[in-house]
């Protein structure tokens, strides 16, 4: 069943689950089921295609990401959700063979425009990775790094303040306040991931991308990160890729289901998990594959 379902969707859209609504096509001719647009978008993606050499990783993905919202991307491995995430801060640029087409705008400005500076983009769109990857420097230096390279702090006291606030908001301050000068790599896995989150929010981005942030963590650390994500939603738009459907259900307001490079269905998290409209979505969340 590797490629068949996608093609069926492309051709007919006839694989919808019993009792669900017929496939909706948006004005642009999207194959995606559900409402891809939102009223207050921060990022607007239209017809995004990514090729790695000859291989197409994602196909015609259109999706809006709203302010103060957690959107979860779910789907089986290799479905392109991480690739999509990495388009949003142009981290795919580092892969020489990657080619991105379509339009992605951040606050109305095309991020792939020649005039868009990639450094500025990444300062506005922060990222937390799957494996905690603190710099092999002190806890303090980890958090201070972003503000320092972007010149956000005028003097040392201001920098100290940014570091402290960021660590507090990441829920790590109490645990590390006495050992800010110790290497960040010496923390536990969950603490390292929160350190990475603190590092990301230290530059006050507009959007935070999270690529399976809890996949390397135990359930307790995972719960802490999830609480944190919920708090951070007050200030940021958060895109989270996850393999855990429970996690998606717990932390997100909207969910997007990817399948083999296609964005199959988008909807409110409640709707996706209780009443999926597309058969592939239903199969995935009921655990029939993936």
């Amino acid at each position: 069943m590797a490629t068949e379902p996608t093609e069926m969707v492309q051709r007919t859209g006839a694989t919808l689950g019993p009792g669900s609504a017929p496939p909706e096509r948006t004005a642009q001719g999207q194959r995606t089921v559900g409402e891809i647009t939102v009223s207050n978008p921060v990022i607007v993606c239209r017809n995004v295609n990514v090729h790695y050499g000859d291989k197409q990783a994602i196909r015609d993905v259109s999706l809006d990401i709203a302010h103060n919202e957690v959107i979860a991307m779910i789907g089986p491995s290799g479905c392109g959700k991480s690739t999509f995430l990495r388009c949003l801060n142009r981290l795919n640029d580092t892969i020489p063979t990657a080619k991105v087409t379509g339009s992605i705008t951040l606050d109305g400005v095309d991020v792939y425009d020649r005039k868009q500076d990639v450094v500025q983009l990444r300062a506005r769109v922060g990222m937390v990775f799957q494996k905690p990857n603190p710099f092999p420097k002190s806890v303090y230096e980890n958090v201070a790094y972003g503000p320092r390279i972007h010149g956000l702090a005028g003097d040392r006291t201001e920098l100290d303040e940014i570091v402290q606030t960021s660590l507090m908001r990441a829920g790590l301050w109490e645990e590390v306040k006495d050992r800010l000068d110790q290497p960040g790599t010496a923390l536990s896995g969950g603490q390292q991931q929160r350190l990475c989150i603190a590092r990301t929010i230290a530059v006050s981005p507009e959007v935070i991308l999270m690529d399976e942030p809890c996949s390397a963590l135990d359930p307790i650390a995972t719960a802490r990160i999830e609480d944190l994500i919920d708090e951070l939603r007050q200030n940021y738009a958060i895109c989270i890729v996850t393999h855990s459907m429970q996690q998606a259900a717990r932390v997100s307001q909207r969910t997007a289901y990817f399948h083999l490079g296609d964005l199959i269905e988008v909807g409110s998290t409640d709707q996706i998990f209780t009443n999926p409209r597309h058969k592939l979505t239903e199969d995935y969340i009921t655990g029939r594959f993936g």
């Binding site: 801060n89 981290l91 580092t94 020489p96 450094v119 500025q120 983009l121 990444r122 300062a123 922060g126 990222m127 990775f129 494996k131 990857n133 603190p134 710099f135 092999p136 420097k137 790094y145 972003g146 390279i149 972007h150 290497p183 990475c196 590092r199 990301t200 530059v203």
Partner: protein, 439 residues
């Protein structure tokens, strides 16, 4: 089903079969393991044996170089020899016949020796180089003219060899190299406490000499230091910069592939070819002086560069991509990512590469022969363009000398070379640890 006992007796369950086969093969497997272990031990033992043999042979011939025979003479700085007109002009004093002072002192020591040929033999007990030491002493302090002092002056290399037991006393006089009369004088001097072996400071402070007892290794050590200084100063930054560009910035295409292949080829080019290149380019074309550490350093830079580039690229490749992504994800530019995160992590590996390259450069003699660093040079080099030689070339020069006393000098120079290498490697280890602890 009529004979139910047959089936269980002949048939073996898969688990039983596994057990039987594993048991059967166990002995063979353990034997193979033991055999491999023995191969490994033999290989290590062979290697260690060769190293031990090398070191013991070098040390056993070379350790005597740390001592040298000196004669204690009563030197009279006679004004009529040094400064006949009493002007105390350094030029007059400098050109005076200081060997006459030593000869006079020897005559005073052995007043009973007469006749030209006997006296000439007597004079040969002291090294011909002693006069230069005296000259230096007087030039340093002209008030010595007219005074007297008892001074340890260098003995001749034959006397030294005898003192060190390198010359057999039992040999017939004509093959011994030291006459019976000289032997008698030497014994008398030793009995008087006027001839003894003392720590050979001058081996570590002097340059080369035709007289083995005067020859020192410091000229070559200075030459090596200056040459390696040039090499390190050029090869490390250029090599690291090239590695960073090739690894981090250069597009992957035919052209960069070609460069990579050529760098790997350069690492295998015989070093003498670099010497010829240096001769043609640096000396012929650019007109740089011959025998100079500057040119030597440039040639060794060419030779060391591929090693450093290859090692640095490997070190850069070894930096985990997660750190790069973290830095880029934070909005660091390419250069910031490299300078702040990649380079510090790659630095220990780069240092290792540099040290391997430098160690090779330190032991290299062939390319330096081509650019004239093989010349006989007495003066200690003080600048990058002074004529100089280097330790391995000095070893080569001394090993080639006919005087027997140069044998121990050769081994002594090798010991110094090995010590030099040891210091360099120790520095590298310390530096590397320092870099690693910062993170």
């Amino acid at each position: 089903m009529s004979e139910p006992t047959l089936t269980p007796a002949t048939a073996e369950t898969p688990a039983q079969r596994t057990r039987r086969l594993v048991e059967k093969s166990l002995r063979r497997r353990y034997r193979a393991e033991r055999r491999f272990r023995v191969y490994g031990i033999v290989a290590v033992a062979l290697g260690l044996g060769f190293v031990a043999f090398l070191f013991s042979s070098i040390i056993s011939t070379g350790w005597t170089v740390f001592q040298q025979s000196y004669l204690k003479l009563e030197i009279d700085y006679a004004p009529d020899v040094l400064d006949p007109d009493g002007s105390r002009d350094p030029e007059v004093i400098g050109s005076a016949d200081f060997s006459a002072l030593i000869k006079a002192a020897l005559r005073k020591q052995f007043p009973d020796v007469e006749g030209r040929s006997d006296l000439r033999t007597l004079y040969k007990l002291a090294s011909e180089g002693g006069q230069f030491d005296l000259r230096q002493r007087v030039l340093d302090d002209p008030r010595r003219v007219g005074s007297q002092e008892s001074l340890w002056v260098l003995a001749d290399d034959r006397v030294d060899l005898l003192m060190k037991g390198e010359i057999e006393r039992g040999l017939p006089e004509d093959v011994r190299g030291i006459s019976d009369q000289e032997l008698a004088w030497i014994d008398r001097l030793v009995a008087d406490g006027r001839l003894e072996k003392r720590f050979n400071r001058s081996f570590f402070t002097r340059g080369d000499s035709r007289e083995p007892e005067q020859a020192g290794v410091w000229g070559a050590v200075s030459g090596s230091i200056l040459t390696l200084f040039v090499t390190l100063l050029l090869a490390f930054p250029i090599g690291v910069a090239a590695a960073i560009y090739l690894e981090e910035f250069a597009p992957q295409n035919r052209f960069t592939d070609l460069i990579e292949v050529n760098i790997n080829n350069l690492a295998a080019v015989p070093s003498i070819v670099f010497g010829l290149l240096g001769l043609a380019v640096f000396i012929q074309l650019f007109g740089l002086p011959r025998s100079a550490p500057l040119v030597g350093g440039l040639v060794l830079t060419l030779m060391t560069l591929p090693t450093i580039i290859i090692a640095s690229r490997a070190a850069l490749k070894g930096v985990p991509p997660s750190i790069r992504e973290a830095a880029l994800g934070m909005g660091a530019s390419q250069v910031q990512m490299i300078a702040h995160h990649v380079l510090p992590l790659a630095m220990p590996g780069m240092l290792t590469g540099a040290i391997i390259g430098m160690a090779r450069a330190l032991g290299e003699s062939a390319p330096l022969l081509m650019i004239g660093m093989v010349a006989f040079i007495v003066d200690i080099p003080h600048g990058l363009t002074d004529p100089a030689t280097v330790l391995p070339v000095q070893v080569y020069l001394w090993a080639d000398s006919p005087e027997r006393a140069f044998l121990e000098r050769t081994s002594g120079a090798i010991l110094v070379l090995l010590g030099f290498l040891l210091i360099m490697n120790a520095t590298a280890v310390v530096l590397r640890q320092k870099f690693e602890r910062r993170w």
